[in-house]
């Protein structure tokens, strides 16, 4: 649970680092999503919902942390995997856009992968206990 929590918190922090650059202006993940919304670049309902959900990531990360402290592994794992999946999806979208990527995206992907690995470890452990 510690690894999943650490990965989620890492992703929460990385989300505020620069993910993309337009000219010399750097934007964090939230600013990029906001710009995409304003410029009507989000095609389809899924992209719209995903963009809205991204703004809830900090709350979800805090939720992972709280669930870990309260020893609620299912809740922590569910939230951590959701946040990580969302982070990876956004990273793919940003990477394939015309925006130049910045190190925040790499840190975000690494943190999301860590969170997913932590969740997988939790699942394996629980199956072993049974």
């Amino acid at each position: 649970m510690l690894v999943a929590t650490a990965g989620s918190v890492g992703l929460g922090v990385a989300a505020f680092l620069p993910w993309g650059r337009s000219g010399t202006a750097r934007r964090n993940s939230f600013e990029l999503v906001q710009a995409a919304e304003r410029l009507d670049l989000l095609d389809g309902a899924l992209a719209g919902v995903g963009a809205l959900a991204w703004f809830l990531v900090p709350a979800a990360v805090a939720g992972v942390w709280l669930a870990a402290v309260l020893r609620r592994p299912v809740m922590a794992g569910t939230l951590a995997s959701s946040v990580a999946a969302l982070g990876l999806a956004l990273a793919v979208v940003v990477r394939s856009s015309p925006v130049r990527t910045e190190p925040g995206l790499v840190w975000g992907v690494a943190a999301a992968a860590t969170a997913l690995a932590g969740v997988a470890w939790m699942v394996i452990e629980r199956r072993g206990e049974r």
């Binding site: 993309g20 650059r21 337009s22 000219g23 010399t24 202006a25 934007r27 939230f30 906001q34 710009a35 304003r38 410029l39 009507d40 670049l41 095609d43 809205l52 703004f55 809830l56 900090p58 709350a59 979800a60 990360v61 805090a62 939720g63 942390w65 709280l66 402290v69 856009s97 015309p98 925006v99 130049r100």
Partner: protein
């Protein structure tokens, strides 16, 4: 309970070792209180605070407004984005309705120009290489023109622009063309006093909860000042009147146009993208409508048939093709008709009757890119705003450009580039203006490089005699001259220009043949 306690009671350690009564006693450690530790409480509070802060962040981010807090801030954002070469920032600084109109077509045009080799593949949002812009000492002042509309004047400020043409992300075709002309590739550096034009204003409007720069309002306001018109009543101009669907919007627009009803035409343009037109139209509508009343006495046009098809739909916009059309009526007392069936255009008036089909044009040697362009001219873009459909003039024009570019292949552009290169001194000198082909110093330098003896001033513009001959040949051709005749004349011009290389003037560096000057 503690080491101290044991020592005080005179116990022994290590199996009977005698107690050293002179040794210093350990510090007193108070007993731990029962209940949650202070650290645990602090941690819990921190987590709850983090959760609340994250919630507040989400709410603020999701409900945040689009735009700046003041008109000046909106213009500052624009200049900041310009200085940062921040394309996203530039678009965000524009009014939402206007940026929506240009965004998709500009992306499509960029992609097409990259495909055709005009722009380089390396062009991306990481910055437009070759340009360095800096704005220094920017001071702005604003004044309200009306509710949600404000003019912003530049009181002070300097724009420094460094341009390095060699670094501009051009594609191979454009690069070859520039290389052919050696000119215009030197880095330049210029400073512009942004406050030099005291009458120039930038207009910002309040939209989507924030202030944005509006290109439409800026143009309209500049026109109003030049025309000496009073301020319009903002928000009380032409009321938008959309149609139920994109094809219905096309029909309504044609009906309004044939009825010479400019008010209805304007009402069918998007209220966001063309908000400025809706607001400023009352300044000229009365006069136009009075003229329309007069014109209707002599003109009566009817839309007999209209067939349309939505050929492309993307979100709230649709590209509508006119696949069939028939208009008949009277203009200045003379009857006439015009029809289009998707393949042939037929028109008839008192004096003539003609029919021209795309197949005929292709049979005559016109490439598909030309005949296809006729079809794209009969397409318009409709957009949905608040549930009603309007025809977007900006998007129609830009999408039409995209359609035209899509018809082209790289070899077409290369052919044009070669033509421009051959005829370049005239075309570029007149059209692009950025290359000093008639610049005397440049011409003399070029003359000296080539070792030519005749000064350019004595011979007129380079290649002038060929073009004179070309125009004469074209003028001598009978009206029925076919593509072969035109091709022959072009070939003669080409030969004349190339021969000119050895007669003492250049075709711009391309196609120059070996040989001593004066040989010809």
């Amino acid at each position: 309970m503690s080491d101290g306690g044991e020592a005080a009671t005179g116990g022994s350690e290590g199996g009977g070792r005698p107690v050293d009564w002179d040794a210093d006693l350990p510090d007193y450690v108070p007993p731990v209180r029962s209940g949650p530790a202070r650290g645990v409480v602090a941690g819990g509070v921190a987590r709850v605070v983090a959760l609340l802060a994250a919630g507040v962040f989400a709410v603020v981010a999701l409900t945040g407004t689009d735009g700046a807090d003041t008109p000046e801030a909106a213009v500052e954002r624009l200049f900041d984005a310009l200085a940062d070469e921040d394309v996203i920032g530039l678009l965000e600084a524009l009014a939402p309705g206007e940026r929506r109109a240009v965004l998709d077509p500009v992306r499509a045009v960029t992609a097409e120009l990259q495909r055709l080799g005009v722009l380089g593949e390396e062009l991306d949002l990481g910055g437009v290489h070759g340009f360095d812009l800096r704005v220094e000492g920017l001071e702005l002042a604003s004044a309200e023109l009306g509710p949600g509309v404000a003019e912003v004047r530049i009181v002070a400020g300097t724009l420094h622009a460094d341009v390095r043409p060699a670094d501009i992300p051009l594609g191979p075709v454009a690069r070859d063309l520039l290389d052919a002309f050696e000119a215009g590739l030197e880095p330049t550096s210029e400073s512009t006093d942004l406050a030099a034009e005291p009458d120039a204003v930038i207009v910002a409007i309040e939209e989507a909860g924030g202030w944005h720069v509006s290109l439409g309002y800026t143009i309209a306001e500049q026109w109003r000042r030049d025309a000496g018109e009073p301020l319009p009543a903002f928000g009380q101009g032409v009321q938008p009147q959309g149609a139920d669907g994109p094809e219905e919007a096309v029909r309504a627009m044609l009906d309004a146009a044939l009825d010479l009803d400019l008010r209805a035409v304007i009402a069918l343009t998007p209220p966001d993208e063309m908000r400025a037109l809706h607001d400023y139209a009352p300044l000229f509508l009365d006069e136009v409508e009075a003229e329309a009343v007069e014109a209707r006495r002599h003109t009566d046009l009817t839309l007999d048939r209209l067939e349309t098809e939505v050929v492309e739909r993307r979100g709230a916009s649709a590209r509508v093709a006119v696949t069939g059309l028939a208009i008949s009526g009277t203009v200045d007392g003379e009857d006439g008709s015009l029809s289009w069936d998707g393949e042939c255009l037929e028109w008839r008036d008192r004096y003539s009757h003609d029919r021209q089909c795309l197949d005929d044009l292709e049979d005559e040697g016109l490439p598909r890119s030309v005949t296809g362009s006729l079809e794209s001219m009969l397409r318009v873009t409709a957009v949905e705003v608040d549930g009603a459909w309007y025809l977007s003039p900006v998007r129609s024009a830009l999408d039409g450009s995209v359609d035209l570019l899509r018809l082209l292949e790289r070899e077409h552009v290369e052919d044009v580039a070669e033509l421009v290169s051959d005829f370049g001194m005239f075309f570029l000198g007149a059209g692009l203006g950025g290359f000093d082909f008639d610049d005397e110093a440049w011409a003399e330098e070029r003359w000296a490089e080539e070792g030519w003896e005749v000064a350019p001033d004595d011979r007129g513009p380079p290649g002038a005699e060929c073009f004179d001959e070309y125009e004469r040949a074209l003028g001598d051709e009978p009206d029925g001259a076919g593509p072969d005749d035109i091709e022959r004349i072009h070939a003669e011009l080409d030969a004349c220009l190339h021969a000119g290389d050895s007669r003492g003037w250049s075709t711009g560096g391309r196609g120059r043949r070996d040989g001593a000057p004066g040989d010809g």
